[in-house]
Subunit: 311 residues, 2 copies
DNA sequence: TTGTAGGCGTTATCAC
DNA sequence: GTGATAACGCCTACAA
């Protein structure tokens, strides 16, 4: 790991000339450039981005703070974000946090290191981010909004997601429906539920909401409610539900239909038979890359669609 | 985001004094220290770790390169590693890669930034890491070993894992067993299979190995082999298997038993009924933290155990 | 075409 | 106790 100064000495030129060679800048003869690049290569010279970032004042790293709550959804989402950022020359690193304190600790570190942006997945709505942390970097949140300066919330229209679910189920002829979701107060959860229940009311559907997955409660609710369909907040929940139901000998989708949300690639190996609403991973990735790239062109809201797995 | 120099000016002292105050060093009066800390706080001063690391030559970041192949196992494992590193004052960041080229790119970046170590999850055995990348940081691999200087492979005894599976199944009275695994050539896969088949041979069990999960092949193999048990390489595979089998109306574990490996926390919500062999996440985390901390005390190999879920 | 000097935000080592 | 000063590895501007 030699430095540019050491490299300059090895080449018997000045540091400035080395810099010209490495950055393809003009004002250097072809011969010296080639010599320098040659020697740089044999010595495995690699510039230290940290030093560059120190002097230029801007880094090319986007950090993400994600709940260590293990989730296939997050991993697939972040893979997508990474690809889009990589395409425009940014590095993307993830840091898992256990609780809100650790989240703030991570953001403080990102900020102190002058990362150019932080993507955060809050575990509940409206966590507040101290202004000082956001002073020199953008805070981009997904799933749930955060409070504080310089922050943006990137989300598809989750109310529309819920509405779409209700419409789809109505069209399939379902009337008595269970909506299974979480107690957590995060935008994606609340908005999807609102969109679903509102549209269901409009369509005169009979909906019962269950805010936690408890096998006994679910099974008794199914009977009591005479439910023919379950709308689950996400595919993971849909999968858990499916296992509980099939274990009871109830046939899916013959006796009861299940609809999830996500359809991330990884789920397809397990969930190849659960009908689901596509979450727009790609759109989120594009959106984040565009914001970081300083593009003002607001991308159009993605078109939601239902992926029918079993007919 | 003020610098230590600006802070010094605000306090009307020199940068050196500011440094003494911030680091609780001696050679400073209580009064000046308190004044400086006070002003630092109101201005939200936070030192830039990148600059510190530049001059001290050592960073406190451990980077991990993980396949973007989505896996609950990895996430739970890395959460564990993070906790152990955090306890000894290191930051841990993850960077997902799509292929070997991107893996090397990530390692090059870690190295150029002088990260103190890289944890890597190779997608196959014996990928070779250029010596230059390993010149100034340790390369710690899990799951599969890598080739190159300065690298260490942290793994439990996977042969023993396989043997334990065979012994457990024999003790449960199984004789005709299917071993379901992957075609990929990585240590964990090969060694587990070897341990299992060798011990099974010793115990006169009748084993048939299937190296890819294909529903039809699996079902026909079960019939043909008259299998009463399936040993799956991991819990994810076990879960996929379970779904295929139950869908066919075969009762688990009455008609057929399934054994997986992992038992990471996240699986318990889905897999609460699959018997599994505990993967020593915690041991791996401790081991990595110890190596990075420079401790020579080799931790004892973890004791493997079977977690029986359904009796 | 090339070399020199200054500075980014720290820490460390001198003096005073 | 406190304040200069040099250094880390790089980039930019200006001088030769």
């Amino acid at each position: 790991m030699i430095s540019s100064l050491e490299l300059a000495k090895l080449c018997k030129v000045s540091q400035g000339t080395v810099d010209r060679a490495l950055h393809n800048r003009k004002g250097i003869s072809k011969k010296t450039r080639e010599k320098i690049l040659e020697i740089a290569k044999t010595h495995g010279y690699a510039p230290n981005p940290a030093a560059r970032e120190l002097i230029t004042g801007k880094s090319s790293i986007v950090g993400a703070a994600i709940p260590q709550m293990n989730s296939i959804f997050f991993m697939d989402l972040f893979t997508e974000i990474k690809e889009h950022l990589r395409a425009i020359g940014y590095r993307f690193v993830l840091a898992p946090f256990a609780d809100e304190a650790e989240l703030l600790e991570i953001l403080a570190d990102f900020s102190a290191r002058r990362y150019c942006a932080a993507v955060v997945v809050p575990t509940q709505d409206n966590m507040s981010i101290p202004d000082q942390l956001a002073a020199n970097m953008k805070i981009l949140s997904v799933i749930a909004p955060v409070q504080g300066k310089n922050s943006q919330f990137i989300t598809p229209d989750e109310v529309a997601t819920g509405s779409l679910a209700a419409e789809f189920m109505a069209k399939q002829g379902h009337h008595n429906i269970i909506h299974l979701t979480y107690t957590r107060n995060s935008h994606a959860i609340l908005a999807r539920t609102k969109g679903f229940t509102d549209k269901a009311a409009e369509l005169k559907l009979h909906v019962s909401v269950l805010k936690e997955l408890d096998a006994e409660k679910l099974l008794s609710l199914i009977k009591q409610h005479k439910a023919s369909a379950i709308f689950c907040h996400n595919d993971w929940l849909a999968l858990e539900t499916l296992r509980i139901i099939e274990r009871e000998g109830i046939k899916v989708p013959d006796e009861i239909s299940i609809l999830g949300v996500d359809n991330s690639p990884t789920f397809n190996s397990l969930n190849s038979d659960i009908t689901t609403i596509q979450y727009p991973h790609q759109w989120v990735g594009k959106q984040i890359a565009a914001i970081i790239n300083g593009k003002k062109t607001a991308l159009k809201t993605p078109i939601l669609k239902v992926i029918k797995k079993r007919s």
